[in-house]
Symmetry: C2
Amino acid sequence: MTASFDFDAWIALQLAQVESALHRWMQADPTDPASHRAPNDLMDAMRYAVQGGGKRLRPLLVLAAAQSAGAPPHSEAPLRAACAVELIHAYSLVHDDMPCMDNDVLRRGKPTVHVQYGQAMALLAGDALQALAFELLTPGAEQIAPAQQARLCALLARAAGCDGMAGGQAIDLASVGKRLTEVQLRDMHRLKTGALLQASVMMGAACGQVNATAHAALQRFGAAIGLAFQVVDDILDVTADSVTLGKTAGKDAEADKPTYVSLLGLDHARSYARELKAQALAALADSALADVRALRALAGMLVERTC
Amino acid sequence: MTASFDFDAWIALQLAQVESALHRWMQADPTDPASHRAPNDLMDAMRYAVQGGGKRLRPLLVLAAAQSAGAPPHSEAPLRAACAVELIHAYSLVHDDMPCMDNDVLRRGKPTVHVQYGQAMALLAGDALQALAFELLTPGAEQIAPAQQARLCALLARAAGCDGMAGGQAIDLASVGKRLTEVQLRDMHRLKTGALLQASVMMGAACGQVNATAHAALQRFGAAIGLAFQVVDDILDVTADSVTLGKTAGKDAEADKPTYVSLLGLDHARSYARELKAQALAALADSALADVRALRALAGMLVERTC
């Protein structure tokens, strides 16, 4: 491991690749037989949901973990996995913003998908984004080895579904106005946001080769940053304004949703986030992987972020 | 091929296996570490959407095609593929029935999922059913060979997504109140219902081994029965009553949706369905597969059905 790691340059390079790949894999070009033949308005709504914003934290985690796991430099697996996770994240936001859920009108500083395209199209765009995630993971065998495709689909499906993100959202739905214990709150977030963040790390790892020790350590890393992410989210919901966040601030308190801030208070929530970051860094050290610089920097970025 | 094929007995056996497997794979048993840990109300809504009704046409097509393709008798692949396709179908109905889409309150003779569980839970249940489909297709390598898992995920994702079912629904959404040509109507249905029916056949085929000739013939078979299914659906929307259909009859005409009946008239729609059945049977004959009795019988059942 060298001392000089230019995180900003690393991020810029990865983001350029992710944005370009998302653009390429969501094209509908009638002259290109390999591109989508989907109706224009559906593809428009899907692209609107995915492009032009977002921190791309999940793709960055995939790519950083893939690098740590020694994924072959020119393999398509990390980039496909990165984009697939982002599509799942994007679809969850589209559905979550709908009137029957959070009824939010602002996302990343823009009108939400159902405001822009109507509820029916938002519903379909979310559904199609989920399917597209699994399309990206199952290209020809020359792009990703079939066994790796299967492994990536397995990880993503479980993180997105009833034992993961969708399950966490269902708990969230049932918990509005209820007083949760810290354990119940943690269990909810472990599913709602933690599962997909952890899966991002493990999908990255699945693009390379890691031994059992490193695998277990990366799982602990993913769990810690997954929870840290949510704690910081709860803090920002209270401390940041809507313009900075690019979404409506103060929504949780208004909806009487339990949060780490309502449960622990602001100061303790902040120290908990720092503790989780320390746990994440300790797990990375335990992994004994040669190069964890990008993962370490991402853990820091995630906890220090202001939006 | 023997002359004696007891289709009723075949159906009964397959349905028993499908129902049992759907039950098993949607369990949330806290004492069983392999079962789902999802919140009870989400699993309830998911099971409600899937169980207790439905002709299970897609699973039957998967199992019949797997049999024709010589899938090993004790492989889990056909049954997992059969259930995965049914979960995608079930999720599409849940979302399609929601107020922002068709706003239907009756399905298979029961209140629709959003009527029973609320819109937010219906949205989440549909989302989680889609993810669960891909979970079923990606068990351990001892249940399905990884390369086969990848192939099945690839087929299902493309049939469900923007170039398949979701794309067809978007065209449907945009076509209410419009006069479509027969070509436009066919293109819509080819995606909306045809893609998943054709994928059922091809996923079954992927559970066994078929040569290029049989593969192409099964694709033609799947395309023909996919379209036939929709033509018959349009006929039944006009000729059957709600009790027989188990859903609100006459919805399409009321919503001023283009149908084969509105385009061709009832008599021509009926003869078109018969013509498509003949095309399907011709494709089966071309396949040169040894045993296509179940597929042939299913094509007949699909066109002659009264609900």
